[in-house]
Symmetry: C2
Subunit: 264 residues, 2 copies
Amino acid sequence: MIEIIAIVPHGEEILDPKDKESKKLRDAMDHVVKRFGELNLDTIVVFTPHNIRIGDHFAIILTEYASGNLGKRRLSFGCDRDLGETIYKNAKNKSMPVVGVNFGALEGKSSRIMLDWGSFIPLYFLNKKHRKILLITPAREIERDVSIKFGELIGKVLKNYEKRIGIIVSVDQAHTHLESGPYGYSPYAKIFDERIIEILKENDFERLKDIDEKVIENAKPDSYWSFLILLGILRENSNFRVEYFQYALPSYFGMLVGLFKKIE
Amino acid sequence: MIEIIAIVPHGEEILDPKDKESKKLRDAMDHVVKRFGELNLDTIVVFTPHNIRIGDHFAIILTEYASGNLGKRRLSFGCDRDLGETIYKNAKNKSMPVVGVNFGALEGKSSRIMLDWGSFIPLYFLNKKHRKILLITPAREIERDVSIKFGELIGKVLKNYEKRIGIIVSVDQAHTHLESGPYGYSPYAKIFDERIIEILKENDFERLKDIDEKVIENAKPDSYWSFLILLGILRENSNFRVEYFQYALPSYFGMLVGLFKKIE
């Protein structure tokens, strides 16, 4: 059963916040961590765009372990393979474009995927003994409706799953806010981020579908495809509402923390 | 163009050989390294069963870099993305079950896959400045004929590729030679390994197809599916002959070094 859902950024800014905007985000992240900590979660499902990247298939990581480092920080987790296999088999049975990905050995300590920064950064805050994770990656070349349907399927599985689940959607928003940034400037950056803020304000993820392809292409977020999956999850778990969010723009890309609470 | 092909093991035994059997393999490996060194290769294509493992899809690694460590040993390579993309697109156009896998960022230094021990161990010997690699993983749930056809497609692409290619098929043979091994004992281990030795002796990879499923299931090699791809490559590059091979059984699994030379 899903207990809590959060949208979190994965810029390194939130690890060691130096400017005011980053501190705003870090405070928001600390709030998320506090709320997650109040629940006795078994597994955190992390949607990350920086682990296995396959354009035309969703990937569900089926290794026994996931570990990695970011500078001197180091993390290692057990993975919730049962949940991963269940989602994978369900999606496969429905002929969805999905692959189950192992790495190294099929079982045991050498069945281990590397954590990417998209999963590492939020998990650095949410690391807790015996807590398992499940990594899932979105796919950019898949039609919007199929991403939403994949989310619905995940939402259904999680709704009926006996363990207590937290969901982390690890994403950053438009990457073209500044001429001096690696992707240059586009006026669509502001448009995209404002649309996302509106969606959160109005708690209406269905409006994601209205965002024009041209806006996405030019704003260059890494969030859109994970948000489509989140939309599907929310459709199947309509008892979640945006409780809180914080947007900031510390550098050239928009960063967002959002928290959904469960309405009993 | 393919310049040379080798079958190599990836047990750690060959890094620090201690017993006589392992030393035999290390000598054979040194021979392979010498022969590879005589050619001015641009790219080494490595088939490894321990990197990305997807049961029902071949994976072609499309990251810009691949790096990893084994104990204190460390390696980092640039990847031949052009070649990877060409093989991927060709296979995709033929509706083969294949995925192109990136990791981290889409481009640049953060587009990087971790080396598995199946690629690390042979590449430790074949590491050379400016030499690129391409990692490809086999898939166990795919029909034999499809693996062979995937090999034919790769063989065709490589035949017409302007750069100088070496192929490494990184595999180990039956894993059920010893009761005390992690997979226990099966009489099929000996049967499997003997069949592979016969195939090498007679330079007749077509006979791979005759190996019964029951033999494979019980012998538990990790080689069979990569060998099917190799068969396809050899069909398209019939100017390669087994020049040399060495089999040994240092512990519970069969290890093999084999070298193919080009007949001008």
